[in-house]
């Protein structure tokens, strides 16, 4: 009886608060239908629904909540699955007297990324604080990923993560603690923006289950160790001249990875030892906006991520010495039909897009954006990369070229449509025999909100 009363009171308070303050809510439905000629993929359709609520609480706080559900035909996923997409309480406090003129505090589940988006861009549960000073912004965030539904995540970094990812009885994502400190200094000189970022990724798996301990003398293919990583990044972006912008960044990757290596102190001559990760990721992009010519955008993007010549697989593949392959936590990738992670990779993306009907005001195709991308991929060193079809024994060299065309249209503010068609032509000598077929990929997406 008491529980019922308490529950009723909570419901009344929530409903009362909802109507007392200026809340808003809505639904977004989206569909993605894709086809890939890659082995084991084929035609996949995913239909998502997102129900969101935005509830300001007083002058400073906002409560954000969003749940999402998916109907999928992907054989690697359940037919139906769902998760809390975001659930956070965010407070914004301007004009403080302690030096900062803005303080933002966010608690709960939120999306977080570092400045480049190539190392970490993911949801997590935790806390985020932002201190706004007159000439810079300092952001500190700490979060946990182990409560996310794994079917909405891309956080596989270790062998045990990969095994869990294949296990249909396991629902949650890898248990990782992510910490970031970022300092952003806008317009430090000549309208150039400077960014610094430090990320720490701590594998917490050993607190919940057994992992292979350092010193084990026999190889165990059914288990693995921890992967802890740190990233130290610096980036610069800004305008070069009218319509011409650039961004450049570099991340130094460190950490440790379990490696089965020859060991003179071992009875078997071999043992598991944690080896240092020492790697790097660099990127440069230049974009030119030509508003007058159908709102054209031409861009060049170059990415370089170090590899490890003795690595036999992307996941815990180090065989000797330091692990030099750059290992992102979860981030963006280039390409359409072929989308390798930023590990042991050199890629150059040339892209051009325009809005052919941008001058016809009020026309239903006014927002149509059409474009093409050409992305040659190279492997900078011998060894593995994220795509298992690539031969780890093949030396550095050309991997193949991804060519894609795409179109996006938003005929109404609440309806979006998109289509892309990609074709990857591999360099057969860089791929494993039988895994070297060209890849055709097509995708159609639509989203509707109400």
């Amino acid at each position: 009886m008491k529980t019922k009363k308490t529950l009723l009171s909570i419901i009344l308070i929530v409903v009362g608060a909802t109507f007392l303050y200026s809340f808003d809510f809505g639904v977004v439905i989206d569909n993605s239908s894709s086809y890939s000629s890659k082995e084991g993929e084929g035609f996949i359709q995913e239909n998502n629904a997102h129900l969101w609520l935005n509830l300001p609480l007083g002058k400073s706080w906002v409560f954000n909540a969003s749940v999402m559900g998916t109907f999928s035909t992907d054989e690697d996923k359940p037919v139906l699955f769902a998760d809390i997409e975001t659930l956070s309480l965010k407070g914004t406090f301007p004009h403080l007297e302690n030096g900062a003129n803005l303080f933002v505090l966010e608690l709960g589940r939120f999306f977080h990324k570092e400045f480049s988006g190539f190392v970490f861009a993911h949801r997590m549960d935790g806390v985020r604080m932002e201190f706004g000073y007159p000439s810079s912004t300092l952001q500190i965030a700490l979060g946990y990923t182990g409560l996310l539904n794994k079917y909405y995540t891309s956080l596989v970094m270790s062998k045990l993560d990969a095994l869990d990812d294949l296990d249909k009885d396991i629902l949650l994502a890898p248990r990782r603690l992510i910490g970031t400190i970022s300092l952003s200094i806008p317009e430090i000189f000549a309208r150039q923006n400077l960014n610094f970022s430090i990320l720490v990724n701590e594998d917490l798996r050993h607190l919940f289950e057994d992992v292979i301990k350092e010193g084990k003398e026999t190889f165990d293919p059914s288990s693995g160790g921890l992967v802890d990583t740190q990233y130290f990044g610096v980036g610069l972006d800004g305008p070069i001249s009218k319509g011409l912008f650039y961004s450049a960044f570099f991340y130094l990757g460190t950490g440790r990875m379990l490696t089965f290596v020859p060991d003179s102190q071992s009875n078997t001559g071999e043992a598991y030892l944690y080896k240092q990760i020492l790697s790097g990721l660099g990127g440069l992009s230049v974009r030119y906006y030509l508003e007058e010519f159908f709102q054209s955008v031409a861009s060049v993007q170059i990415l370089y991520a170090t590899g490890d010549s003795d690595s036999i697989s992307y996941i815990e593949g180090n065989r000797s010495g330091n692990a030099n392959m750059f290992l992102p936590i979860s981030g963006n990738a280039l390409g359409t039909a072929f989308q390798p992670k930023v590990s042991n990779l050199f890629a150059t993306e040339l892209a051009y897009s325009l809005k052919p009907f941008s001058g016809v005001k009020g026309f239903i195709l006014e927002s149509l954006q059409a474009g093409a991308k050409l992305t040659p991929f190279f492997k900078p060193s011998k060894g593995a990369m994220s795509e298992g079809e690539v031969d780890p024994a093949a030396g550095a060299g050309y991997l193949g070229t991804d060519l894609a065309v795409f179109a996006n249209l938003r005929p109404f503010s609440d309806l979006g449509l998109g289509a892309s068609l990609g074709f990857f032509l591999p360099n057969k000598s860089a791929f494993l025999p039988g895994k070297d077929d060209p890849i055709v990929y097509g995708q159609f997406v639509f989203s509707f909100s109400f």
């Binding site: 303050y21 200026s22 809340f23 808003d24 809505g26 935005n54 300001p56 906002v62 005001k361 009020g362 109404f412 503010s413 609440d414 309806l415 509707f448 909100s449 109400f450």
Partner: protein
């Protein structure tokens, strides 16, 4: 104070360009309102759209609104306007087409979504919240700039 001057200058410059001039005294009153009144908001939008003269009063603006047959319920007593109703006034007065849902169910809810999509409002786009006089003028300024861009 600087923001107030900026808003006034922006409105006067833009107003001159498209052939209307708001009464400075009324704009002063609007700028002083923490929650802009329904009649003042109606005056701002209808005079900016050229439906009433800028020498009209907020009460005359309400009378003009009643004659528009836009399906907007006009309050009998002086009251504040919500962001949704202000957005709906803008949509009707400036003939902003709106999204699919607005076409199906025209009203404050989807009008607020539309002006947020067009970038007229940058803060909380909840249709049920109130807005200050300064924000109402800023949104109107953005709507006028959008209208200019459509020509």
């Amino acid at each position: 104070m600087r923001r107030k001057i900026y808003l006034l200058v922006a409105l006067i410059v833009l107003g001159t360009a498209i052939g209307f001039a708001q009464s400075n005294a009324l704009i002063d009153q609007v700028l002083g309102q923490k929650k802009v009144g329904f009649s003042y908001a109606t005056y701002l939008v209808l005079s900016a759209a050229g439906i009433i003269k800028d020498t009209a009063t907020p009460e005359q603006a309400i009378e003009a609104l009643k004659q528009q047959n836009w399906g907007i319920s006009v309050p009998e007593e002086p009251t504040d306007i919500s962001l949704g109703k202000y957005a709906y006034l803008l949509m009707k007065a400036f003939d902003i087409p709106g999204g699919l849902m607005y076409k199906l169910i025209p009203g404050p809810r989807y009008a607020a979504r539309e002006i947020a999509y067009l970038g007229f409002v940058t803060e909380n786009p909840s249709p049920y919240r109130s807005l200050s006089g300064e924000e109402a003028l800023q949104i109107l300024h953005n709507a006028l700039a959008w209208k200019e861009g459509q020509k």
